[in-house]
Amino acid sequence: MEFEFLIEGAPRKISLEKKENTFVIRDGETILEAEIRPVSENELMFFVGGRSHRVYIVRDGERKLVFTGGRTYAVCELRQAAGRFLGGDEKTPEGGRYVKAPMPGKVIKLNVAEGDEVRKNQTLVIVEAMKMENEIKSGIEGIVKKIHVSAGDLVDSEKPLIELEPKRSAKAMMEILDK
């Protein structure tokens, strides 16, 4: 069986074929024969060429989190990943940008008003979560088109805080990037 995954931001193909008691793993030029033994619901043992590896795996929504050798990887099947990115809600219909809180918290302070020009990396809003203040910065150079929240509001990471309209030059560049 062939799989196409997204891992560390890049697509990768891997194939896994059952062959009696073992599995043949094909990853580009590399071919390995491995015995794979589920130890518990979240734990697999891989026996490859005389060595054993312990792998922990859990499902997290549409992706899987895989831990091995001290590293955690988020692995997502490419068709699911594609759906996720195409349905992406970062952009406004006019080609602007929604600014969102990276995690749920409370709006402490708005540093900008509608109509303000903002530089890249300028602090737009301060959101407090887990008792620390976090500065939410602008990813682009642009104009504040709309502000959806006010100080004291509780926010989650889904709804936009602010809508930004890119400056003309930046807008042109973004259109190119988006293609």
Binding site: R12, F23, V58, R59, K64, L65, M130
Partner: protein
């Protein structure tokens, strides 16, 4: 000795105190907010009392409800842990008034050292070296500006009631002073309920070295050596160790005696910590007293062999300090790493959510102090500390290796944690050489991200994901569960701890 203690805290420290009580044959009462209904400390305690909604001001900082819970459960003493009410003199006084023993310093000493400005005055009078700074809390911004001018930039804004880096801001020029004061006051207000801030001279790239002190109610005082806590982010300690690579026997003895003198000057009893800054010329300055059990107390426990929580309880119950200064020794080396629910690759933003899988490291010389379990949802309302990993070994080099290996074995899936970041700190050549100061993270770890690609591990991860997909497809009617659901709902966890023969039969 007490028969029952209420723990006015949550997370790993509440769990730590509950464990000490259990070993001493003392019953425990947990208090919890609505968000902590299923938290580990609640599951482990003998009794649990809900004390209000999720926000700390309505629960863990609500003195009245905590006192009432203590009375209702027949508790004789309250252990405040760290943070929340641990250094609140009003609370200590209220306990005293209500006939409850506050496991910490007496309210007068707490009030004195908790007020950073008065503490500085007291220490200065006692002949203890202090950092130049303001000696009173001003009202107007202009007074701050004038003070900053006379102290000289850079200055640091500090919360008077503070600790843990909350409310702190470094200011290198006048134009940044006002926003720093505003932010500092807001953070101080929300963390401690007191917005008072003051200014101090900012000493560049110092080491942060603190001394653990224990004193009984009759004034017998010992110190249990130092902890080096120079590895900090946003003024928050993240790696601590003892002994400090910067001290020799002479300096250690001088600082230890100064720490004892500071505590005596403050009329202090129970466990406390005297923090010093050690500058590049090895001059030390009194910074503040942390009038509580510290997050990093385990490193001291591992090298001295003293159980600090047990000592706190013994002393609070009126016991005489059995430890003698001349008998105390530092043996081997201990390091602690704090595991936070933060994303080190995304500006350390707090990461809340469900812990889908947890497997803590084990092995000789490895200690794990945690407040979490698989399936538990990390709430957004509190400090993001999840657990502490502490190792002991014969010397510093071996302790570093042991820590690196233990971090490698530490699995937390579902939320972002600082484990990978900590591993790179421990393996950094400057850390290995013991060259640590408070600017270490800024100097060596700005813009950090997980190190290069590891093709073998990645291939294994992909193969595991593929195997899981195949297994799911093969299973009739099902994809593999989140695994942890089952774990979270297992009756063994939801039932909590049982004592055979009922609550009274402890100490068999």
């Amino acid at each position: 000795m007490f028969k029952k203690i209420l723990i006015a805290n949550r997370g790993e420290i509440a769990v730590r105190v509950i464990r000490a009580c259990r070993e001493m044959g003392i019953l425990t009462v947990a208090v919890h907010s609505e968000a902590d209904r299923a938290s580990l400390h609640v599951l482990l305690a003998d009794e649990a009392v809900p004390i209000g909604p999720a926000p700390a001001v309505e629960s863990y900082l609500n003195m009245e409800r905590i006192i009432r819970a203590a009375h209702d459960t027949g508790s004789e003493a309250i252990h405040p842990g760290y943070g929340f009410l641990a250094e609140n003199a009003d609370f200590a006084r209220l306990c005293e008034k209500e006939g409850l023993v506050f496991i910490g310093p007496n309210s007068e000493a707490l009030e004195l050292v908790g007020d950073k400005v008065r503490a500085r005055q007291t220490m200065e009078k006692a002949g203890i070296p202090i950092i130049p700074g303001m000696k009173a809390i001003p009202k107007a911004v202009t007074e701050f500006e004038a003070a900053a001018q006379s102290i000289g930039y850079p200055v640091i804004v500090k919360a008077s009631a503070g600790g843990g880096g909350k409310g702190m801001r470094i200011v290198s020029e006048e134009k940044d002073l006002r926003p720093a004061l505003e932010a500092g006051m807001r953070e101080a207000k929300s963390a401690f309920g007191d917005e008072s801030v003051y200014l101090e001279k900012y000493i560049e790239e110092p080491r942060h070295v603190e001394f653990q002190v224990l004193a009984d109610n009759d004034g017998a005082t010992v110190h249990l050596f130092e902890r080096e806590c120079s590895i900090q982010r946003r003024h928050q300690k993240i790696v601590e160790e003892t002994p400090s690579p910067a001290l020799d026997a002479g300096l250690r003895a001088r600082m230890g005696e100064t720490a004892k003198k500071a505590m005596r000057a403050a009329g202090y009893n129970n466990a406390g910590t005297v923090e010093f800054l050690l500058d590049q010329d090895r001059k030390f300055y009194f910074l503040e007293v942390n009038a509580r059990l510290q997050v990093e107390h385990p490193v001291t426990e591992l090298v001295t062999g003293v159980d600090l929580v047990r000592q706190q309880i013994l002393v609070a119950a009126g016991g005489k300090l059995a430890l003698k200064q001349e008998d105390l020794r530092q043996r081997g080396h201990a390091i602690e790493c704090r595991i936070y629910a933060e994303d080190p690759e995304n500006n350390f933003l707090p990461s809340s959510g469900r812990i889908l899988f947890l497997n803590e490291p084990k092995g000789p010389g490895v200690r794990y102090d945690g407040g979490i379990y698989s399936g538990w949802e990390v709430p957004i309302y509190y400090d993001p500390i999840l657990a502490k990993l502490i190792v002991w070994a014969e010397d510093r080099e071996m302790a570093c290796r042991r820590m690196a290996a233990a971090l490698d074995d530490f699995v937390i899936l579902g939320i972002h944690t600082t484990i990978g970041f900590l591993k790179d700190i421990i393996n950094h050549p400057e850390f290995r050489a013991g060259r640590t100061d408070t600017a270490f993270i800024r100097k060596h770890f700005e813009g950090w991200s997980t190190g290069g690609k590891d093709e073998d591990k990645m291939r294994l991860a992909l193969a595991a994901a593929a195997f899981a997909e195949m297994a799911a497809a093969a299973r009739p009617g099902g994809v593999p569960g989140r695994g942890t659901k089952q774990d979270a709902l297992t009756p063994w966890k939801t039932l909590g701890r049982w004592r055979i023969g009922g609550a009274g039969s402890h100490g068999i």
